[in-house]
């Protein structure tokens, strides 16, 4: 069926060396991927070849036994590593080095031995097998590189207890509303975010178009790196900051507290606005953009009594 000649050990030596290099320079996922053939075949294969000099092993058993030996050797190295340094940092390097040495020794020992003549498949089978192996490699690629997610940013507010329920409502002029604002960057690039906080006085809390004034209260900027979306079902935060809003003097009645999020930079028309000032037109245009979902926005309804 298959001749276990020098070509296999040469391949084993090359892949083991690549695995050693990958364990030093690449991240964990890539190095463990390159280590996989070393684990499955190339640690055990030279050892099986040594054993074959002593006793007969049928061809079909070679890969299963090589796999078992590869697992045992790697698990032993891992156990020793955990005992010595409580980590698994150098296991791939050590196991790949052992594999390289064993395959190298076999190559030297077999330098004068002619490989057994391989029996090749017929043409049709070779084509079908090649297609199958190509598909297998592509499927492995889909596991390593899942299809991409749509880039997105999460923007949210929480109450003092870190929940989205029991949001503040009753307050007073000069009173403070305590909130937590959060952002998570899943846009696949680093982004500088700017959160603008605005306070609107409303003529009627049940009429979204009754905005009378728009006070620009504050700006908060932060630069966030991309963080992958957690698909485990457990939600994970990236960046949160506490935000305490003081209701300005003279502002009362039905209010709506707005948070607008800008990515990269604030558009010129909303930049450098004077704080604690009514910028009605700019504020209204921001609300319009928020309603059209052109920018990410959050808002909560408040009611401020005058007297406090």
């Amino acid at each position: 069926m298959i001749g276990w000649g020098r070509g296999w050990f040469a391949t084993g030596l090359i892949i083991s060396i690549i695995s050693i290099l990958a364990s030093v320079v690449a991240d964990g996922a890539i190095s463990s991927l390159i280590f996989l053939p070393v684990l499955i075949i190339f640690i055990g294969l030279p050892i099986v070849h040594f054993i074959r000099n002593i006793r007969t092993i049928p061809n079909w058993r070679i890969i299963p036994i090589s796999f078992l030996i590869g697992l045992i050797v790697t698990a032993t190295i891992l156990s020793l590593n955990i005992i010595i340094s409580s980590s698994s940092d150098h296991v791939i390097t050590v196991a790949s080095s052992i594999s390289a040495v064993l395959n190298g020794i076999q190559l030297i020992l077999l330098r004068n031995v002619r490989s057994a003549k391989l029996k090749y498949f017929d043409k049709k089978t070779t084509v079908a097998a090649s297609i199958f192996i190509t598909l297998l490699i592509l499927v492995a690629f889909t596991i390593v590189q899942p299809f991409p997610s749509k880039p997105l940013t999460e923007f949210y507010i929480l109450n003092e207890d870190g929940k989205t329920t029991d949001m503040p409502y009753h307050t007073s002029t000069g009173g403070v509303v305590n909130l937590t604002v959060g952002i998570a960057n899943h846009e696949t690039r680093t982004i500088e975010y700017h959160v603008q906080v605005w306070l609107a006085e409303m003529g009627d809390r049940t009429d979204p178009n009754s905005t009378r004034t728009m006070y620009y209260l504050d700006n908060h900027s932060v630069t966030l790196n991309h963080t992958p979306i957690s698909l485990s079902g457990e939600w994970l935060s990236q960046y949160e900051f506490d935000y305490n809003v003081e209701i300005p003097t003279g502002v009362s009645g039905s209010l709506r507290l707005w948070f607008f999020l800008f990515a990269d930079e604030v558009p010129v028309e909303y930049d450098d606005l004077e704080l604690l000032t009514n910028h009605y037109d700019e504020g209204l245009s921001l609300i319009e953009k928020a309603h059209e979902r052109e920018i990410l926005s959050l808002s909560i309804l408040l009611h401020a009594d005058k007297g406090a």
């Binding site: 996922a29 955990i82 299809f147 999460e154 989205t164 949001m167 939600w235």
Partner: protein, 724 residues
């Protein structure tokens, strides 16, 4: 088996690993212990980040789904069953062992203050104890048996074999393209390749060993081309409810036996899925989208095995393809993990009953064990099986009347008792008797006729295309299958020779399901627990071989009356061609040709099946975690499933024309996907979870959202809070 083709290639014989239970004990024990050691080593290395490509998931899934059952077969001295039946029984028994082990650990936790059952250590320890105990038992009961079954692997490394292995891989790649970029051409290529493979296997003979492989590969490709659509589970039927039942067990660490939901009452979901999760390290999405479909491929394999007792491999393949080609097989069933497991166990029971060896006590023990597994896996299937089992028993007694012995009667009565008493005890005690009460109500409704819709009101409108267009091809195929089944039954019974054991058993088993098909024509709601396509699918599991028999008998009849030159094509190929055309139609190829709306597996974005994107998923995870104190989290019909699978909360918006405006406080509104573009899926108040209305979200609802708090926003989702 007639007409098998022997390979011309040189044989390459290895010990038959599919029948390792027949090996010498020492060799068998060494083999399974080494597999167990490899499994432990892979888990150990994977925990430390040294294994990639989900190798742990694949290996542990295969080990725990196969080896414990194989050892049980050795304990029960089940030998010389052949590779197909051994595989079927090993997997079915392993699944049952896992479910009952989980149940025992759960009971020990509640009754004996044992350790928390659904943790990795407890499950691995529990299953290892069972594995070692079974191995010891097999040493005690069956250490002397020795055989040397061999497997010729040369057919498995030929061009047709590689072509078959490529089909599931092609399905994975096709769904990858669809999920990432909504590109469906590879899906279409896959469907055509599957159809071509079936026709090629029916027309051209290949080595007989390849036919069961063909059934598995074709079934897997057909299943994967829909199951792997989307990164998350797609709501084909009840998957969000099953997902939550499994997820709750994982979150709590134990199974709550008195939870009132139907899906909480079955071990196939509440225990099996969490066990797979803990052992394989795969998340629940992957388990429901990949592991359960793999188990499901053994159902058509079981049909293949049954049919091969009387048909050649091509006829048996055709019988299996009749199952695979049904739309329900690769859509609705993907949302019914509990029925997948129950059908796997059902097919193994049927295969055992039809096995020609004597009904030894060990075989009966295995049959009962698997039947118990089936009972605790799905109530709906049991409700269908109960009357059929009684009818089968009576038929069997009639057919066996000449050679009837007291022991046969005792075994039959025992089996009948097994079909009735355990389900009543189980569903009467689990989940607050909710399922048993539903069963009782349903039976009462059946008897008083209030469920009966009838021929005039239901069937004629369906067949005249007045409504329920989706049922039309199902009924047409059912009518065709019925006619062929009657011909097959007539052929089997009218044989000049005395009916042999197998025919008597098979006729007794299949006849009630043939009667069922006819009843279903007149009463489309005969079994409330199961939709009509699923019901017909169950019937076809038993009658598919009959349909192929019928085709052959028609072919012989035609040969008598028409000169053989005019009947050149063997009828299995004609029936195969009809099945392939039916498959191409229901899989959406026809839609793409005529420009009709495409199914989800061909158009992920434009279809109406509830599927979820990454942005919706994390927003829903945020909503259920941060909004835990909210009275309700309302969402449209599709997003309500998403919230349900993550938290068990299910608050869909009901309505016909526009979403309702609730007055209650402390509620969340979750919007996502098409909601942000102004459209919404509303649950129909009359046909809850069956019909949904896709309507514009409307100004009233939008204005309502603008005056309440908006607490979460992303490009994909929004969460609102109504506090006043």
């Amino acid at each position: 088996m007639a007409g098998e083709d022997s390979s011309e290639n040189e044989q390459v014989l290895i010990p038959d690993i599919l029948q390792a239970n027949d090996w010498r004990f020492g060799r068998f024990a060494t083999y399974v212990i080494i597999l167990q050691i490899i499994t432990f080593l892979i888990i150990f290395l994977d925990d430390n980040g040294l294994i990639s490509l989900n190798l742990r998931g694949l290996f542990t899934f295969l080990f725990y789904s196969y080896v414990p059952g194989l050892v049980l077969l050795r304990v029960l001295r089940m030998h010389r069953l052949g590779g197909v039946l051994t595989t079927l029984l090993s997997v079915a028994a392993s699944v049952a062992i896992m479910m009952f082990t989980g149940l025992i650990l759960n009971l020990m936790y509640f009754e004996m203050n044992g350790s928390l059952p659904f943790t990795f250590n407890t499950i691995v320890n529990g299953l290892t104890v069972i594995f070692v105990s079974l191995l010891l038992l097999s040493f005690i009961t069956n250490r002397h048996y020795c055989d040397r079954p061999t497997l010729d692997i040369s057919p498995f490394i030929t061009a047709p074999a590689f072509a078959l292995y490529s089909l599931p891989l092609l399905a994975i790649l096709a769904t990858y393209l669809l999920n990432g970029w909504n590109i469906a051409w590879l899906q279409i290529v896959l469907i055509i390749a599957i159809a071509a493979a079936v026709m090629a296997l029916l027309i051209k003979r290949v080595p007989s060993q390849l036919y069961p492989v063909a059934v598995i590969c074709i079934a897997l490709a057909v299943l994967f081309h829909t199951s792997l659509v989307s990164r998350f589970v797609v709501e084909w039927a009840d998957i969000s409810f099953e997902y939550w039942s499994a997820n709750k067990t994982l979150i709590d660490g134990f199974w709550t036996m008195d939870s009132p939901n139907r899906t909480d009452s079955v071990l196939s979901v509440t225990i099996l899925a969490p066990i797979y999760n803990l052992l394989t390290g795969l998340d629940l999405n992957t388990i429901f989208k990949a592991c359960y479909p793999i188990l499901f491929t053994l159902v058509p394999l079981g049909v293949f095995h049954i049919a091969r007792e009387r048909l050649d491999s091509r006829g048996a393949l055709l019988a299996a393809f009749l199952i695979i080609s049904g739309e329900v097989f690769f859509t609705e069933f993907l949302g019914l993990a509990r029925q997948i497991v129950a059908e796997l166990l059902l097919m193994s029971v049927v295969a055992l009953l039809l096995n020609r060896s004597n009904m030894s006590i060990n075989k009966i023990i295995l049959t009962w064990f698997l039947a118990l597994g089936m009972i605790v896996s799905h109530y709906g299937l049991i409700v269908v099986i109960m009357p059929a089992a009684i009818t089968s028993s009576i038929l069997f007694l009639l057919l066996e009347r000449r050679s009837l012995t007291a022991s046969t009667v005792v075994k039959l009565v025992g089996s009948a008792a097994l079909i009735f008493i355990p389900p009543i005890m189980w569903y009467g005690n689990i989940s607050g008797s909710a399922v048993l009460n539903s069963m009782r109500e349903h039976i009462e409704q059946l008897f008083d006729g209030s469920l009966s819709i009838g021929l005039y009101e239901e069937l004629i409108p369906i067949l005249s295309l007045e409504h329920s267009h989706h049922l039309w091809p199902v009924f047409i195929m059912a009518i065709l299958a019925s006619v062929l089944c009657i011909c097959g039954l007539a052929k089997l019974i009218s044989s000049r020779h005395e009916l042999d054991d197998w025919v008597r058993s098979y006729v007794a088993l299949a006849t009630p399901f043939l009667i069922y098909i006819f009843i279903a024509f007149f009463d489309t709601k005969i079994f409330d627990f199961i939709t009509i396509p699923r019901f017909l699918h169950i019937c076809l599991l038993f009658t598919a071989p009959l349909a192929v028999f019928g085709t052959l008998s028609i072919h012989k009849l035609l040969k008598k009356f028409i000169s053989s030159e005019n009947v050149k094509r063997p009828t299995p190929i004609i029936l195969g061609a009809i099945a392939v055309v039916f498959f191409l139609t229901v899989s959406g190829i026809g839609n793409s040709l005529v420009g009709s709306p495409l199914p989800t597996e061909l158009d992920l974005v434009g279809s109406d099946a509830p599927n979820h994107n990454d942005g919706s998923f994390i927003a829903a995870a945020f909503a259920v975690e941060k909004g835990i104190d909210a009275g309700r989290i309302y969402a449209d019909a599709h997003r309500a499933y998403l919230l349900h699978l993550l938290s068990g909360r299910y608050d869909p918006l009901f309505g016909r024309d526009a979403p309702p405006l609730h007055s209650s406080r402390n509620t969340h509104y979750f919007l996502s996907s098409e909601n942000l573009e102004g459209m919404i899926w509303l649950e129909n108040p009359n046909y809850y979870r069956i019909n949904k209305n896709y309507v514009p979200i409307g100004e009233s609802f939008t204005d309502r959202l603008l005056i309440i708090d908006k607490v979460y926003a992303s490009q994909e989702s929004e969460l609102y809070y109504k506090k006043l």
